[in-house]
Amino acid sequence: MKIESAVDRKTLIIRVAGELDMLVADEFRRKIDTLMERNCTKNLVLNLKGVNFIDSSGLGAILGRYKNITMGGGKVVLVGAPPQVRRILELSGILRITSEFETENDALEAM
């Protein structure tokens, strides 16, 4: 798994690539939590364009960030999930609680 980040005002942008499973779930969690805190950001844009596999450990890590961030009054939105990943996000119910955008710019405008 590779993670890149950027900050736009109060929003942290995370670009993930690779497989989101139990092997990387902790690192994913830790990195995002640390970056949110360090940059004092309130919202999260999660760009999943480079993700080619996700299972319930990966879904759990996303849901955990969603819970923390929304409890703090922030928003979590998803960008660019490939079809096979999007299908799993949909089955899990995550797409019912988060908004989805095609590009990071669209997502940032909605913040």
Binding site: M22, D55, G60, L63, G64
Partner: protein, 154 residues
């Protein structure tokens, strides 16, 4: 039922082996006529079952053994068996309920995915003895491609 092909993989209960196990199962299943979506689902269910063995069966103890047995039977059925000798599941029906998880950061969707992506799912578990998850899936019935139909008519 006669076996057409079989692979057995025994590995230490470390997270690094989760991607290995699901890739092996996916590659093994690829010799059957599964769709790409089916192969993706097979990788997910193996990932879920192996993660369960490591996290729940062995409480993340890295020095135990998980076994994956992949079999193709003569009637074109794929069977996947994931087995551990861990602490077992005291209440299997409860563990299989959607959104049941002992860990708030996991979604409790593992068994739900296994149920929805596979044709059959059986969970055999005994406390302090271990858990065996047995799943089967059949490739979709082959439909002749339209180009083949046209060439036959000509």
């Amino acid at each position: 039922m006669k076996i057409r092909n079989q692979v057995k993989l025994s590995f230490m209960s470390v997270p690094e082996n989760v991607p290995l196990a699901r890739s092996a199962a996916g590659a093994f299943a690829a010799q059957m006529e599964f769709t790409l979506e089916d192969l993706e689902e097979i990788k997910i269910v193996v990932s879920e079952a192996v993660s369960n063995s490591i996290i729940h069966g062995y409480d993340n103890d890295p020095n135990r053994i998980v076994t994956l047995l992949c079999t193709i039977y003569e009637d074109a059925v794929l069977e996947l068996v994931i087995e551990d000798e861990g602490k077992g599941i005291p209440d299997v029906p409860k563990a299989m309920e959607t959104a049941f998880s002992t860990d708030p950061e996991r979604m409790g969707l593992g068994f739900t995915f296994m149920q929805s992506f596979m044709e059959t799912l059986k969970v055999e578990s005994a406390v302090d003895k271990g858990t065996r998850v047995i799943m089967t899936k059949k490739p979709p019935r082959r439909v002749a491609a339209s180009s083949e139909l046209i060439s036959e008519e000509n």
